[in-house]
């Protein structure tokens, strides 16, 4: 397991249940170290999105501690500070884009962080350049396609200059080409630590170093290699053959 002292983010025995509802997160322990690229895959309704919302304080834990570089995050003000460093990419990009133009949307975060108009514009242009979205600056956000929306939403998160990215099913509804572009982008972010929730195993293997699963409200860390067999089908399959 990881050592605690270099952890950017550490969750200690956190639990969460909705009022009068079942327990969604149950005594979950998890540590995210600098440079970690972790994938999380689990069935629907197993609490992955809830976990993300707990980390950034959109939901309040029922018990347990959340630490950011050994500092406990308790009050809303602490979470406010944390949200500067931990960027959350929502499942539905439409939730995240609320300004008429792309540039305004990307600049919204930096402006909220108290940057001047010029600084905010510089950062926004840099981020758009990094994602090869420069031509999008003056486009109308709600007239973008699904894939474009997702990339712009990523730009709005990156404009906050976070250390950690939490991506909630980033490939949902994207076509193959946009997925490949996302993979390439994520692999180019060498300075970022991220945690991706996804159902797509191929996407996770292409972008992360470790893949964990969730069960009964906790994260299962399984680092062992497993030999496994696949059933598969193709033409002339009945002939003896080898796959390379």
């Amino acid at each position: 397991m990881h050592q605690t002292h270099s952890a950017i983010l550490s969750l200690q025995k956190i639990s969460f249940h909705y009022p009068n509802g079942p327990t969604v997160i149950n005594d979950l322990d998890f540590t995210l170290n600098k440079g970690d690229r972790i994938g999380l895959t689990a069935p629907n309704g197993s609490g992955k999105s809830t976990l993300f919302h707990l980390i950034v304080g959109l939901l309040k834990t029922s018990s347990g501690r959340i630490l950011c570089e050994d500092q406990e995050i308790i009050k809303e003000e602490d979470f406010r500070q944390l949200r500067r460093r931990v960027g959350l990419l929502f499942q539905d990009a439409d939730d995240q884009l609320f300004f008429p133009t792309v540039l305004e949307d990307v600049a919204f975060g930096p402006l909220n962080l108290g940057k001047s108009k010029e600084e905010a514009l510089t950062i926004s242009h840099q981020v758009l350049q990094r994602l090869e979205l420069v031509d999008f600056a003056d486009r109308i956000t709600f007239k973008l396609s699904g894939g474009e929306k997702k990339l712009v939403a990523l730009a709005t998160v990156l404009a906050m200059e976070p250390d950690v990215l939490l991506l909630d099913e980033p490939t949902a509804g994207l076509d193959h080409k946009t997925k490949l572009r996302l993979i390439e982008l994520l692999n180019n972010f060498t300075d970022l630590t991220y945690l991706i929730v996804s159902h797509e195993f191929d996407f996770l293997t292409a972008t992360t170093n470790h893949i964990y699963t969730m069960e009964n409200g906790t994260i299962l860390v399984d680092e062992e290699l497993h030999i496994h067999h696949h059933e598969h089908a193709h033409r002339s399959g009945q002939q003896p053959h080898r796959h390379i």
Partner: protein
């Protein structure tokens, strides 16, 4: 779907900054709304029509918008003349039409038409984003401006959701009619739309919190007023002052012409 028909119109009006246009609308509509004198309201309508032609708006499109208004005006004409107390000018069996009632209905018609025309020429020719920024620079509270911007942004999504729900109903052979089943279906559709809108609103708010939103609204756009803007504002102000003086009977219309 929401259409912004007049935005791409090229005219003198488009050369004015959103700030100037919004301020001009505020001044003129305040004066028109508070005036009661026909000799003020008639010239106001004339000026509004003049503005429409200067802006080069398509008269058919303008007419269609006035038609929407005519439903409301019809209600006023059906009710006011018969219910207003005053000197009776016409009697149809037990109904009586009062002079004051007719006058009030005329006033309201003139006011609404001229104000709508002014809004059409000055406001509907700019994008909602520009309007929001103009309101912001006119020191309208940030919360209201944000409300406008976000309503505009999400009205399309709500429309999308509605279409999705209607499609879902249609593929299961739902036909609009006047049966109880039909009304119940519509009620459920509407209820579902509200639930989805509320959930969406919550997620948007969360997304805003994640990006450090603290209730303040920053604007990136800057417009610079030129002499054309100041000229236009001066013209609007002069007309407004003349109308006010006319309303207060300081000057009367014949002396104007």
């Amino acid at each position: 779907m929401l259409q912004e028909t007049f935005i791409s119109q090229k005219s003198l009006i488009q050369n004015l900054t959103p700030w100037t246009r919004t301020l001009a609308v505020i001044i003129s509509s305040t004066v028109i709304a508070l005036s009661n004198n026909l000799s003020v309201l008639l010239p106001a309508l004339g000026t509004a029509l003049l503005l429409v032609s200067v802006a080069g708006l398509d008269f058919r499109q303008v007419g269609r918008r006035l038609l929407v208004l005519s439903g409301f005006l019809l209600m006023i004409w059906l009710i006011l003349p018969f219910t207003y107390q005053g000197q009776i000018v016409w009697r149809i069996s037990f109904l009586s039409v009062s002079h004051e009632g007719l006058l009030a209905a005329t006033r309201l018609t003139l006011k609404t038409c001229s104000m709508l025309l002014i809004f059409l020429t000055l406001i509907s020719t700019m994008s909602t984003a520009d309007l929001a920024h103009a309101l912001h620079s006119l020191k309208i509270p940030a919360k209201l401006v944000l409300l406008l911007l976000i309503t505009y942004r999400y009205i399309f999504l709500i429309e999308d959701e509605l279409q999705t729900l209607l499609r879902a109903a249609k593929v299961r052979n739902f036909k609009p009619g006047t049966t109880l089943h039909c009304y119940r279906t519509y009620a459920y559709l509407l209820g579902m739309l509200f639930v989805r809108a509320a959930e969406r609103a919550q997620r948007v708010h969360q997304a805003m919190l994640c990006r450090g939103f603290n209730g303040r609204f920053h604007s990136l756009r800057e417009y610079h007023n030129r002499s054309l803007d100041y000229g236009f504002l001066a013209l609007v102000s002069i007309i407004a002052v003349l109308m006010t003086l006319c309303e207060w009977k300081v000057i009367t219309l014949p002396t104007l012409f």
